[in-house]
Amino acid sequence: MITLVRRPTPSQFWSYATPLLAVIATMIAGGILFAILGKHPVEAIRVIFWDPLFGGNASYFRGQLLVKAGPLILIACGLAVGFRAGIWNIGAEGQYIMGALFSAWLALKMYPAESHWLFPAMIVLGALGGFLWAMIPAVLKVLFGTSEILVSLMLVYVAENLLAYMAFGPLKNPEGFGFPGSRNLQDYPSAFNHELIEGTGMHWGVVAALIAVIFTYGLMHRHITGFRIRVAGEAPRAARFAGVIPARLVMLGLGMGGAFAGLAGMFEVSGPSGQITDSFNVGYGFTAIIVAFLGRLHPIGILLAGLLMALTYIGGDMAQLMLGLPSAAIQVFQGMLLFFLLAFDVLTNFRIRFGRVAA
């Protein structure tokens, strides 16, 4: 008989070990999945996790790593602040879209005027777009107590439809020969989020992600606000006695998540993606939730988790090319990772005892 005994305080050791354990377990389970799909498991794992970093064409893929990790880390940092406070913003995908729409709208209005102010203005608008979209669930929660989970999620579908409407309607390229999608911002020097160092994939969004990591670390671990957020998440009643105002935390948690997601959308639309199309969003907002948890809601952890997740994206693309592994297999892989992580977390909070324990 196996029993769980609650630890007086969560184990430090296991809180670091569980993400590693989860990654290993996912690799094993993933290998089994790939074997079922008729691929050689060891080879598939090698193609996904080894070749993009150290294989033949690694120099190209290493650049892609930063391109994919940037938005994931940026979004996850913002989400982690909310999750710590017990505020479940799961609509980052929508906020990401709105950031892209706001900033692209400005750039397309200004086209073809060149100005040094355009790119900074787009950054502001991107953050604002995501922030405002996140304020909808925040304000509704504060005023009426409406579930932020459901509202933020519903708004993803609204944003997706708005994106499609914009891509086929108001923001459509007038010189696009009838093809859907906006002008490509990569051909518009003032708005283009170009690579900072040739061939590295390093663009302003990656810089922003690094700043976000440092900022979030400072806020959560060096500032009184972060302390309040953590208290509110772990002991809401105690927090209220300590003078924490829940409404402000809701606004901060959702607002930061929204602004960061909006920024990620802005850097994506002005750089790697380049244009508004109805398939612009690829699920970064949802994958970032996994990144935030895998990184233990800690900025440094998120940095590492973001890189790992980016690796699964790139490795997944490679495996699709070389082994014909379906792209959905990587989605399953990412989902499994979160499952294993949540499952192994029991070790952080509980001691496992074999045999009966006196109650």
Partner: protein, 310 residues
Amino acid sequence: MIVGGIDIITLTATLMGASTPVLLAATGELVAEKSGVLNLGVEGMMIMGAVAGFAAAVATGSPVLGFLMGAIAGALLATLFAFLTQKLLSNQVATGLALTLFGLGLSALIGKGYEGVRPPPTAKIDFGPLSDIPVLGRILFSHDWIVYLSLILVAVVWYVLRSTRAGLILRAVGESHDAAHALGYRVVAVRFAALAFGGALAGLGGAYLSLVRVPQWTEGMTAGAGWIALAIVVFASWRPWRVLLGAYLFGGITALQLQLQAAGYAIPVHILSMAPYVITIVVLVILSAIHRHGVQAAPASLGKSFHASS
């Protein structure tokens, strides 16, 4: 009867079919939440039900087996969720999200070979002369058996929760798991059962979507229906008959939206497609505004982990 290019009778008749997937999923989730567990994985269980049901129906040629397989797939995922949240005491919100992400991925993987395939048709029940009654015949007696099954299930859930011993235990577990545990009820076992039932209904709803409503398999075809089912449970204040009302209201909006598109109104398709989600938010807001000053309708232990030591 045609109003503004919309045939009211057709609208009402399609409403019942359009509502059925969400009604089934919401009824299942109601039972799970009544036992005190918040399962945010409805979307994932629905889409797994959709693909599993579709695959089984295509393979066997029998839609009945398809529906059965859909329900089993949903229940299996729910059992996984139950294991994580009840045995390993993981966070229910995060685990529910994981279930949805996992389900969306796995369904896409399984469904790869089924795109563009047509499923075997599900026959409508023949009510004989009843179906020929003007107006009422088309609205009430022109559906397949799942539509009627969903209505029966609502009634059964209502009756069981209200008037049976099993229902009372389920509610006790949901209101105060510590008290229920002290009385000797097996909290974890009750929750496993409630979650599996909820998963089976979500899977059945998903299978209805892919086998009857659409009817074909496309990736991500549930398009938020599972989340809307969750919203409907809140809307219904955890009462079965109000779940029916909420689901039909939502189904009505979906059907109306589709008919407006077909009737050629000059509203862009994408703007119309937003309507169900926007209206869901509006309804949620109105309800939470009302309940803010009234009694708390949610089960008291909803979303809390249960560990016998604490």
